[in-house]
Amino acid sequence: MMTWVRERMEATGSTRAVGLMRILLAALIASRWAGELMPVWHQEWWYWVLALFFYPAVTCMFFGIYSRWSTGLTAVVVAVMVWGFGWYGGVHDWIHHHTHLLMHATLLIALTPNGRSFSFDRWRAVGRAERDGTPVPAEIGPLWAVSLLAVQVSAVYFYSAIDKTTLRFLSGDHLRGIFAVHYTGSEAVEVPGFGVILLIGAVAVVALEYALPFALFVRRWQWFLFPLGLLFHGMLYILLPVGTFTCTMLTLYLAYAHPDDVHSFVDRLLKSP
């Protein structure tokens, strides 16, 4: 365990994965709150003050303008919204699990050198190097905080699996109730084998949620676990109203990927003839 921690502390590598996560998280934050925070919807001045910080911070985070600062400011703004407005201001829509996950992810990504790739900061750095005739700075930085993003995703899976380890979930009855709420509206489903499908589905979900938090760290298994996770979350996204949760989880999968793998993947994508 200590070896693992030590390795994480000293980890340096390509910043492309954190750059991509910065962009995707900014887009997710905007999709969750940008419409809701428009001044036209609020009469209270404190919402206007919030908007005054929110829009510039998220925009700069997205484009990577003064990335460390803008990501940090976005993290503070989102924390004020979730903790301040949500928990203490009674805005209950802002304290769902998907908003908490977004907040945690933004706080953690702010601790990474996320502006060294795919950013306005990078564009300026390359321009400066060309002007001065110096080598273009490498897209490398300390990645100790990236592991925490992976730990966050693993925690979501693991504690969610613990919550589901009950007879009522594993029997399929909980899924039957969810199905009724969202699809059939109290009409009994008379399809043969429906109960067995629910039972298999429930057991499969719990097994997957116990396996993913640990298995996703194993590099040689990621080639099939990433698509499996994509399929799992994709199904949830289509079948249930989960908000930004699915996209946030999939964005954070980049924290499990080895930085070199992400770097060479992007190199391959950008390879010109």
């Binding site: 100790w144 730990v151 925690a155 589901k164 009724a180 009409e187």
Partner: protein
């Protein structure tokens, strides 16, 4: 594991890493395993655990066992309806819906029966069986 005393950045990182690692994990442990209250800092990961806990699944029928279309009984003839309009959460709500059906002019004289399974904390139990006469 030895740390150079001059390597203060390493120490700060390790401290922040440890604190955040604990925060990410102790919140769910506190709420989900130790029974503490959910709070701003202690966040459990219980997605959808509250959805579908109180639901009744019903199938209307006649005394001879002929199954009846609930939507037609309620007067939703081809209308676009939301699931929530068809959602019954308790046995009482099921009985009230049955009474409403009985009182509708188009269902006059109907001998309505139902098989209703209702969930209590997500376990479904038979709450009403066809032996119960629903229309007075």
């Amino acid at each position: 594991m030895r740390v150079q005393s001059s390597d203060w950045i390493w120490r700060v990182r390790a401290g922040v890493f440890a604190l955040l690692f604990l925060w990410l994990n102790l919140g769910p442990v506190w709420v989900q395993l130790l029974g503490g209250r959910s709070s701003a800092l202690a966040r459990p990961w219980r997605m959808y655990s509250g959805v579908g806990q109180e639901v009744c699944l019903v199938q209307y029928q006649t005394p001879d066992g002929t199954l009846l279309n609930r939507r037609k009984l309620l007067g939703f003839h081809g209308n676009i309806i939301r699931n929530k309009q068809l959602l019954l959460r308790t046995v009482l709500a099921t009985r009230e819906e049955a009474l409403r059906i009985c009182k509708m002019p188009e269902n006059k004289g109907i001998d309505l029966r139902v098989t209703a399974h209702c969930s209590v904390r997500n376990r479904f139990h038979l709450a009403l069986d066809p032996s119960v006469v629903l229309c007075p």
